[in-house]
């Protein structure tokens, strides 16, 4: 027991010996949360639109003004020549062209149903779909406004349309991707810091020869493992609290659910990253190797976590592989607690999976570590 105390004390002295570690602990989350939280966005905003108004009447102008007032669109200009419209889409000056036909106003008044033509840049299918949704919404609102002009028309419509849709988005009413992304970034920071600290920390002792020196002392390998785990888990927990603080300060996003539950789930997750770190240290002889292997595992667990790519979109085989990834569960848990305030009761399946894989990974790593030393 006393040996473990001295190991932990030594580790903390080394970590905080120079200022660079403190910098890593504070600056890395600050930069990642600030930049990534703003950069990684699935919101479709600032869609560039080019108009061709062949009608040039009060009705067509009112229609266009709906786009001017929308925060999703930027009007890049008006083009008179139909044949030149495609060049805007080709060059990327616009990703959407809207053509209002001649007699737009007349047809509306005569109830002849004018057609508006849309040319959409479909390279990014997701964004194209989302922008189409926005346009549908605008057209809808415009029609409602038209009905105010003719009471008898509005009566007619009311007879046809019996059901009105009133969608409400829960937990993230404005569908801001920030709210969805930021808890994921906290998970990534925790993964990176604990994984790299553990693997590099052990391999460094191998490199300089102190690990060998420790092995000729009466210290047991389990004491050595615990002596490494305690400081790195404390740092991990510290790191998650620092990250949550930055998230609150920068984005004003606070934890909806129980902070205690969040820390509890985090500690289970940390077991898996420490296990992975120890495992990496057993297959690497130099810090360079450890760095490389840690990167390899990090990229895999991030890409297969559902953070960037929804797991539901992956082929079934890959979907099964993601089940082995503790980060997958942890990101879900973090989002649930952060945004919905979900209680432990509804997180039991994820928690159990994470406990299982974390423990297996950790035990396998420790057994391998002890075998390597013995």
């Amino acid at each position: 027991m006393r040996q473990i105390f001295y190991l932990v004390q030594k580790e903390f002295r080394q970590i905080f010996r120079d200022f660079s570690m403190v910098r890593i602990l504070f600056v890395v989350p600050l930069i990642q949360i600030f930049i990534l939280g703003n950069a990684i966005t699935t919101d479709v905003k600032n869609i560039k639109v080019i108009f061709q108004d062949q009608d040039k009447t009060p009705y067509s102008r009112e229609f266009i003004s709906k786009f001017v007032h929308s925060k999703y669109f930027i009007i890049t200009g008006f083009e008179e020549d139909y044949t030149r419209l495609s060049s805007y889409l080709d060059s990327g000056k616009a990703s959407l062209a809207i053509i209002i036909p001649r007699h737009f106003q007349r047809d509306i008044v005569l109830q002849k149903k004018p057609d508006i033509q849309l040319l959409v840049d479909g390279v990014d299918g997701n964004s194209a779909g989302v922008s189409l949704g926005y346009i549908t919404d605008i057209v809808q609102k415009y029609q409602e406004r038209l009905m105010e002009y003719s009471p008898e028309l509005s009566l007619q419509v009311k007879n046809v349309r019996r059901i009105e849709m009133e969608p409400r988005f829960w937990f993230n009413p404005n569908l801001e991707s920030k709210l969805y992304i930021v808890p994921g970034i906290i998970a990534l920071i925790l993964l990176i810091i604990t994984l790299f600290l553990t693997s590099m920390g052990i391999v460094r002792e191998k490199e300089i020869g102190t690990l060998e020196q420790l092995m000729v002392t009466p210290i047991r390998s389990y004491q050595l493992v615990i002596g490494k785990i305690i400081p790195f888990s404390i740092l991990g927990m510290l790191e998650i609290m620092i990250s949550m603080g930055f998230v609150y300060l920068i984005f004003g996003i606070g934890v909806k659910g129980s902070l205690l539950l969040l820390l509890f789930e985090s500690s289970i997750f940390i077991i898996s990253t420490l296990g992975l770190g120890i495992f990496i240290s057993t297959i690497s002889d130099t810090q360079q190797q450890a760095l490389f292997v840690a990167w390899f595992f990090m990229i895999f667990s991030i890409l297969l976590s559902g953070f960037f790519i929804p797991i539901a979109n992956m082929p079934p085989v890959i979907q099964h592989i993601t089940r082995l990834n503790p980060l997958r569960y942890y990101i879900v848990i973090l989002r649930e607690i952060y945004l919905k305030g979900t209680s432990i009761k509804d997180l039991i399946p994820e928690t159990l999976s994470m406990v299982t894989f974390s423990t297996c990974l950790f035990l396998a790593a420790v057994i391998r570590f002890r075998k390597k030393l013995g």
Partner: protein, 243 residues
């Protein structure tokens, strides 16, 4: 009789694949002896010493250290030995005092013992002014002496030194050997590997290793008479040349 033997090896071997790094070596080291292990680089000295310290398992053969088998008694062996390798084994980013405290703690010394030992060591090594400096800042010769002291904190009866003076200047080496003598005078057994032949003269007995085998074993004086040479250097070159 058995209590008089500190280290004993019989047909101890370690193979790495087809390569026999240590090939059936046998010897006894008496208590209080300075036993030198000589040989060129790659002769198998470090592999042999690592087996005796419990860092490597032998492929064949048996050895006892402080009466405990290196196959079954490594935990007990570790309590009875000090070990210092050719690699500098202190933490360079800890201060001198912190290093002593750490190794003292690892060896299970109490807080007072650590405090006493620290005071004693710092005055012995003339490091009082440097106690709060990072170990990195010490000259190599001092680092080696500090590393040696750290490996002796738990007062072990047997000390293994694996090329302790590698890369150190002659004066520091002389000083280092003065400490080794003091240790031996306190009744401790010193098992030292080196490839400096002048250091071999300081040993009570030396064994010469070549390609995993012990090809000569005796006192420096005895060997000089046997081969009719005046220095260990000449003997070494003569014997290695023959093989």
């Amino acid at each position: 009789m058995e209590t008089e033997i500190a280290v004993s090896a019989s047909k101890l071997s370690r193979h790495f694949g087809a390569f026999k790094a240590v090939d059936e070596i046998s010897f006894d080291v008496k208590k209080g002896e300075i036993f030198g292990f000589l040989g060129a680089n790659g002769a198998g000295k470090t592999t042999a010493i690592k087996m005796l310290c419990g860092l490597l398992k032998p492929t064949e053969g048996e050895a006892t250290v402080a009466g405990f088998s290196i196959r079954t008694g490594t935990a007990m062996i570790k309590k009875n030995i000090g070990y210092m390798s050719q690699k500098f084994s202190l933490y360079e980013d800890l201060t001198v005092k912190e290093n002593i405290e750490f190794y003292g703690g690892i060896y299970g010394l109490s807080r007072e013992e650590i405090a006493n030992k620290t005071r004693l060591l710092l005055s012995e090594l003339n490091l009082e002014n440097m106690q709060n400096s990072l170990t990195r800042a010490l000259p190599l010769g001092w680092k080696q002496r500090l590393a040696l002291s750290a490996s002796l904190l738990h007062d072990p009866p047997i000390i293994f030194l694996d090329e302790p003076t590698g890369g150190v200047d002659p004066i520091s080496r002389r000083n280092f050997w003065r400490i080794i003598y003091e240790i031996a005078n306190r009744g401790k057994t010193v098992f030292v590997t080196t490839h400096y032949m002048d250091e071999a003269e300081y040993c009570n007995r030396v064994s010469i290793m070549h390609r995993g085998k012990i090809i000569e074993l005796g006192t420096p004086t005895g060997l000089k008479q046997k081969y009719d040479k005046t220095t260990m250097q000449d003997i070494f070159i003569h014997i290695i040349g023959q093989n």
